[in-house]
Symmetry: C2
Subunit: 151 residues, 2 copies
DNA sequence: TTCACTGCAAACCTTTTGCAATTCT
DNA sequence: AGAATTGCAAAAGGTTTGCAGTGAA
């Protein structure tokens, strides 16, 4: 069982939510997938493993995971992605206002969640210059990942 | 006729496209709207002005305007927004790989297209650190605009 | 006049809702 | 046992396609 699976299940349990078979299946799929997935892609992947889960349930499970900060919604792709787990620190999964940035490979579709050095001061400067009270920002990079660059 | 309308129409014409009534109506609506709009919102707004334009046509017009770099797609809202026109410079509308950043007010929904100082070096640093060849980035800020802050 | 563009009908895909049946705890 | 969750059916949205008719150049 991966760290993600383990953590995710325990967070659900601690929130008084049930560990059902469909939920576990979706979590395990997310755990082993380094791309973002749509509801339908999740359904297809589970089907191919011989697990029939209704599309409606997928949507509800996605909502549940999102509310519990176990997945991100990637704007560029319109799909969802597991939250990154730091081995060292106590997991930041359950924090809401932490900011998340993504590197998305246009070729293989892999998504990497990254910390982006320097972005905070850019946001502050923008806040200052614009007069907006900025409470959230979305930053996503599209390109070609190192692996695909080799080919 | 606003600068946006004028420029947009001339760009269409120069591309060999026709200036039809529905296209002009959509362009004029975008010109006077400082929010992002969905296809359905565009249809509703036109209807209320007494102009019946089919939803299908709205979609096709949106595609056309997007291909000609006359509108942006705002990821946070999932809607479209007119491209900003600089009075001073020769218009940058028709450039494709120019990067665009948005300030979105969570209260009134207004969207402002901004240049973001400092972001280029952040992108370069990320490119360096990650090994990705980054060719595009998306940066959107959510918050409360100066006007809404006063209330 | 001609061809691009629109409108209409219908299909398609995605997401949501209500309710009865299931299954975790 | 009891309550949360799932599956099913159906509806509600959003978007696309094909084709005949319209209208801009």
């Amino acid at each position: 069982m991966t760290l993600y699976t383990e953590k995710a299940l325990s967070i659900l349990k601690n929130s008084g939510l049930r560990i059902t078979k469909p939920r576990r299946l979706v979590i395990e799929l997310l755990a082993k997938t380094s791309r973002s997935l749509s509801a339908y892609e999740i359904k297809e992947a589970l089907d191919q493993d011989g697990h029939k889960v209704d599309t409606v349930s997928i949507y509800r499970i996605i909502d549940c995971l999102y509310e519990n900060h176990l997945i991100h919604r990637v704007l560029t792709t319109g799909k969802v992605m597991k939250c990154k787990l730091e081995n060292e620190h106590e997991c930041e999964l359950n924090q809401s206002d932490h900011c998340h940035h993504f590197l998305i490979c246009q070729q293989c579709g892999s998504v990497e969640e990254v910390h982006c050095p320097g972005i905070d001061s850019v946001v502050s400067a923008m806040e200052e210059a614009s007069g907006y009270r900025i409470n959230r920002h979305y930053l996503e990079f599209s390109g070609i990942c190192p692996q695909c660059n080799l080919v």
